[in-house]
Amino acid sequence: MQVVYLLIGLVVIVAVVIGVYWYSQKSEVTELSEIKKPALEVKGIPEISDIEKIAPEIDALLKDISELETVAEDKSLDTLKEDLSALTEETPSEKELPSTPAIDISDIESTEKELSTELEGILNDLTDLEGFEEDTSLDELDTSLSGLAK
């Protein structure tokens, strides 16, 4: 019984420790998100120092826009699609490539195997039939039956 209470106590302590750790982690995250709020979203009129900080970023944005416009107006690759299509049509496929005809000799090899199997089979049969042929187990049958028939 004491062991059960001890175990329950241990479980409660572990649960409390986990709860405290989880709460401390949660409050840390909340504080960080508070810090990351952008300055412009803060209620009230922006300060001059904040506007000064944004000015170079606006300049960079304007430069990017003008560069993108140049890229959009570039017509040097307009014919790329057609060029690629033409190239695909002109390149012969692997099948069309002239090559030395490959001779498949696998069927000769299989024929050789077939031949050797046939010969092996006929040799086995020869042995079996010789076994019938040369069977001398019943050689005394004639004399024994003659003795009985007298």
Partner: protein, 251 residues
């Protein structure tokens, strides 16, 4: 209700397991190749042959017992020895028929399981062997019911059969050889055609085929020799009428 559900789920589980096992076994059975079938046929023949040799041993024991009781009866002619002699004579004769049946069965087994024999020839040979087996089976039942005085007659019949049986077996073996050669010649001719086609293919590709052509010409010549020999052998084994003829031919 709960019980029914349990039963149903049990049935479904058993059914699924059964279906899986059945599926596995059927696929294994289907995958059984020709090679396995050849091996099975050979195993069957060897089992039949072993059975024949066992029967030979029993026959030898029965023969020895018969010879012993005969000697005893000749020495001491009394009713008891006579009855024993008759009993052993019947047993020996019956064993003789059994051993001859086993011998023919092993030959029949070999022929009927041989895939490399043309079907019609195989059936004809099996039918001929079965005819002899049936005759021997009849004799066996006659021996079982024969009177002591009839045993001698039965012994004569079996002895005459045995004398012809040896010629019969030699004729059958000749017939098997003829059929076997028919089969193999057909296969070789098939191989020859395949090689000829390959030579044409190689020639079209400007390859040197002289060696292969020489080999094929030699091969074809040997097929022709085999055909001639087969015909001559067929004529000879059909002409076998005595054991002396057969021995001369097979030596």
């Amino acid at each position: 209700m709960e019980k029914t559900t349990k039963k149903l789920s049990k049935f479904i589980v058993y059914f699924l397991v059964g279906a899986i096992i059945l599926g596995l076994f059927s696929s294994v059975a289907f995958a059984k190749g020709l090679k396995e079938r050849h091996q099975e046929a050979r195993a069957k023949y060897q089992a039949a042959r072993q059975q024949y040799f066992k029967e030979v041993n029993w026959w030898k024991t029965a023969r020895q017992q018969f010879l012993n009781t005969r000697r005893k009866y000749k020495q001491f002619r009394n009713v008891e020895n006579k009855a024993d002699y008759e009993k052993k004579a019947r047993a020996f004769l019956s064993r003789t028929v059994d051993v001859l049946i086993r011998k023919l069965e092993s030959l029949k087994n070999w022929v009927s399981n041989k895939p490399s024999l043309p079907e019609s020839e195989r059936q004809a040979i099996v039918a001929e062997i079965e005819k002899d087996i049936n005759w021997l089976e009849d004799k066996k039942s006659e021996i079982a019911t024969a009177l002591p005085s009839q045993i001698r007659e039965k012994a004569k019949e079996i002895r005459d059969y045995w004398r012809n049986h040896r010629i019969f077996v030699k004729k059958i073996i000749g017939q098997i050889w003829g059929a076997r050669l028919d089969w193999v010649i057909e296969r070789f001719e098939n191989i020859s055609s395949k090689i000829a086609a390959k030579i044409d293919e190689l020639k079209a590709a400007d390859k040197d085929t002289s060696q292969l052509e020489a080999w094929l010409a030699d091969f074809n010549q040997k097929i022709e020799i085999a055909k001639n020999k087969r015909e001559k052998a067929r004529e000879k084994y059909q002409a076998i009428s005595s054991l002396a003829d057969a021995n001369k031919l097979f030596k």
